[in-house]
């Protein structure tokens, strides 16, 4: 009988002790915000384009953390979907937008002769990448433009277009050799 009391007493003591430790930890080591949101946000391309249906990358990161689909980011492409699937330990899905897995990098270009200086695109740009003032010609800071195309629609004279970024000798890189043969017999199969 006595031994049972000892056991209960010991367990009770342990319970109180661990409860105290957990209580202490929950107050003093409390994590502010949701760390997974930050990790998801790191993976998203930060174009702030809103093509996912949320007003920016962080809101979409929050939505993913709350269970939204991970395949709604066309600027990130399949690579982002895969990275998110890897992070969240999910099955990689195909990109919602369709077959365009390798998104072409594009940036906004203002045909300056046609610009009337209405500042509407300035207000639309999520990264302040358009320079200008009322009744002054506007221009895009090419290095800062994320290619979100949010400035295209507000323009009343349609002088903004999205242009693909040209590959130069500096940004060019060797292509991966095209060989699909994994084992020698693959090649024989092709020849037959």
């Amino acid at each position: 009988m006595e031994i049972v009391l000892y056991a209960v007493g010991a367990l009770l003591l342990l319970a109180v002790l661990f409860g105290a430790i957990l209580g202490f930890a929950s107050i003093h080591f409390k994590v502010e915000g949701n760390p997974i949101v930050d990790q998801i946000n790191e993976i998203l391309p930060q174009t702030q384009c809103g093509q996912c249906g949320y007003p920016g990358c962080r809101p979409y990161a929050e939505a993913i953390a709350n269970g939204d689909a991970i395949n709604k980011c066309p600027p990130g492409g399949q690579a982002t979907v895969n990275a998110l699937a890897d992070l969240l330990d999910m099955e990689p899905q195909t990109l919602d937008a369709g077959a365009d897995e390798v998104p072409v990098t594009r940036i906004a270009y203002i045909r300056e002769a046609e610009c009337i200086g209405c500042t509407k695109c300035l207000q639309a740009c999520p990264v302040d990448a358009i320079l200008g003032a009322a009744k002054q010609m506007h221009t895009v800071l090419a290095d800062e433009c994320t290619g979100c195309d949010l400035c295209v629609d507000p323009c009343p004279v349609e002088c903004i277009e999205m242009r693909p970024v040209a590959v130069t000798a500096r940004t060019w890189s060797w292509p991966l050799p095209s060989s699909d043969a994994l084992i020698a017999t693959d090649r024989r199969g092709q020849m037959l």
């Binding site: 391309p45 930060q46 999520p126 800062e144 890189s173 060989s179 090649r187």
Partner: protein, 572 residues
């Protein structure tokens, strides 16, 4: 012959073996039979603005400008950049994109110079004794002369000379380990004294205690010439010529440091972190000419070789000379030409056009026949023989890199130190399955660099987006605060009013407005204030006027009404 062997073997210094390495067929004898020649002045020189690693230069001349030989035509933009000078006198005929020597085959902005044949130099400032000047001034001269590394990647030389770290050893690289190329070999044979003079200047600039000149033992004539020149020079006790066995790629910067000093440059570090700076023999000559003679870098020694040439050899060429001009001079047989390669057969790249110009880094042009450089056989499957790992001079695992590159697993590639690969091609050379390993690594490096650039940009975008949100939040907070302040003031006024006339209960804003109007009226002494008031306010105000005023106001109102009603009649 005996004396020669002695000279080669007399290197007493301990040397260390290279890790890995291969012995490709040298094919150097074809281009060493004749002395360094010269080519006639071409009619046009094409000067790419990007001749070096780093940011392209910025033109300082316009189309139609007349320039003298050696005149600055494009200035360095940014820290890692080098200026460009006119290689001959003439007129700038265009600044436009032209094909450049680059594996992509792209056209990039170039300055096109039509030569006038006068070869008229601009004014040069020569120095009698460079030791009178502080090293920083000499480094500035090297920077202004547009010198970039002439052996390999073309890194601007001045940056290597002003790292700010204390340098103990200067190594002059006369290895030239890649097959076919003999430009440095011929330079050492013919201009050994200039190389030693350049090395002395470099040593003075760096404050280095010792200077090692590393040469492979397959260049006996060059070794002899260099030893003779060194024994005649004043700094024979501070310099040493070190000869070591021929193996490819012993001329790589990190590889040569390992051979000569036994030290390995850690991954991600620079030789300067070990107190070592390495310069090519061609760079040493360019430094001497820049410092002592005041001449900018406008020409270099280039090897013209390959079985499609009748007279292969080395020539001193002006930067910007189109390849076809040189090849014609060397007796190109058009029908024989299979591949045109810029650089050596291991690390060079083939180009599709003959009008590509020579740049500061172009050490060799190979006009090869089809049988000389046959098309690469189809790659077979990797049989995991491991020869590549034995050949790798950087002690990497080429096979693992290959699998991960194929799987596009960039994290693993970084884990396996892909960026320590010097792309020497030793692994691909020994691969029995003829897998183009280096191309896999180059492609993966490119993708990783692009991804890193994207990551940097996305970080910046995020910061800009967040600062925009913060700014907008601040703006709306300021607006809100203003609104709040207005409301509070109104409330205060109401309270004050209530205190003054406890009996009167009226709507607060109207009362406040009346109070304001009254105060203003009192202040302006009789001049009525023009304030837009609502009908109710007007009525209230009207009722508070004295009888005389009321009458006046009534008359004015009715007169206005009449006027309005009679407007057509007035016109009639």
């Amino acid at each position: 012959m005996n004396a020669q062997t002695n000279l080669i073997a007399s290197s007493e210094r301990k040397i260390w073996p290279l890790t890995g390495g291969v012995h490709p067929e040298e094919n150097k004898h074809q281009s060493t039979t004749r002395p360094i020649g010269s080519v006639p002045l071409p009619e046009t020189l094409v000067l790419p603005l990007s001749q070096h690693a780093g940011t392209p230069a910025e033109p300082v001349v316009a189309v139609g400008d007349k320039v003298l030989k050696g005149q600055l035509i494009a200035r360095a933009s940014g820290v890692i950049s080098a200026p460009l000078h006119a290689p001959s006198s003439g007129v700038i005929s265009a600044i436009e994109p032209r094909p450049i020597p680059h594996p992509s085959g792209f056209s990039e902005p170039c300055i096109v110079l039509s030569t006038d044949g006068a070869e008229q130099w601009c004014e040069l400032t020569t120095i009698d004794d460079y030791r009178q000047l502080p090293p920083e001034e000499l480094v500035a001269k090297v920077r202004a002369a547009g010198i970039s590394g002439m052996g390999g990647a073309g890194f601007p030389t001045a940056i290597k000379l002003s790292s700010g770290l204390s340098i103990r050893t200067l190594i002059i690289n006369g290895t030239e380990c890649e097959p076919y190329i003999t430009a440095d070999d011929m330079l050492m044979r013919e201009q050994a004294q200039t190389i030693i003079a350049g090395a002395e200047i470099l040593q003075y600039m760096l404050g280095a205690d010792e200077c090692l000149i590393g040469i492979e033992d397959n260049k006996p004539e060059a070794i002899m010439a260099m030893r003779t020149a060194l024994s005649q020079s004043a700094s024979a006790d501070k310099m040493e010529i070190v000869v070591f066995p021929t193996i490819y790629p012993s001329g790589g910067e990190k590889q040569l440091i390992q051979i000569l000093t036994g030290q390995e440059v850690p991954s991600g570090k620079l030789p300067a972190d070990l107190g070592i700076v390495m310069q090519n023999v061609g760079t040493a000559v360019a430094v001497k000419e820049a410092v002592v003679d005041g001449k900018p870098l406008i020409s270099r020694i280039t090897t013209l070789t390959g079985a499609a040439l009748q007279t292969p050899g080395n020539v001193a060429v002006l930067i910007g000379t189109p390849a076809h001009h040189l090849l014609q001079h060397a007796g190109l047989q058009d029908s024989q030409l299979g591949t045109l390669v810029f650089g050596g057969p291991m690390m060079g790249f083939s180009v599709e056009r003959l009008d590509i110009p020579v740049t500061k880094t172009a050490n060799c042009i190979i006009a090869a026949t089809r049988s000389e450089f046959p098309e690469a056989p189809d790659p077979q499957a990797c049989i995991r023989c491991g020869h590549c790992a034995q050949a790798c001079p950087a002690s990497l695992l080429p096979q693992q890199l290959y699998w991960h590159a194929k799987a596009e697993n960039y994290e693993q590639l970084l884990h396996h130190n892909l960026f320590d690969c010097i792309e020497c091609g030793a692994c691909a050379f020994v691969c029995p399955s003829a897998i183009p390993l280096v191309q896999y690594y180059r492609a993966s490096k490119g993708v990783i660099r692009t991804l890193e650039a994207k990551q940097v940009k996305s970080e910046r975008s995020k910061a800009r987006y967040e600062s925009r949100l913060a700014r907008m939040a601040q703006e709306s907070a300021e607006k809100e605060a203003k609104r709040q302040a207005n409301a509070e003031r109104a409330a205060r006024l109401k309270a004050a009013k209530a205190n003054e006339q406890p009996g009167v209960v009226e709507e607060d804003p109207i009362q406040a407005a009346i109070a304001r109007a009254k105060a203003r009226k009192a202040a302006t002494a009789g001049q009525p204030a023009r304030v837009e008031l609502s009908a109710k306010q007007k009525e209230l105000r009207f009722s508070s006027l004295s009888p005389g005023h009321r009458l006046k106001r009534l008359r004015r109102r009715s007169a206005q009404h009449r006027l309005l009603a009679m407007t057509p009649r007035l016109h009639g």
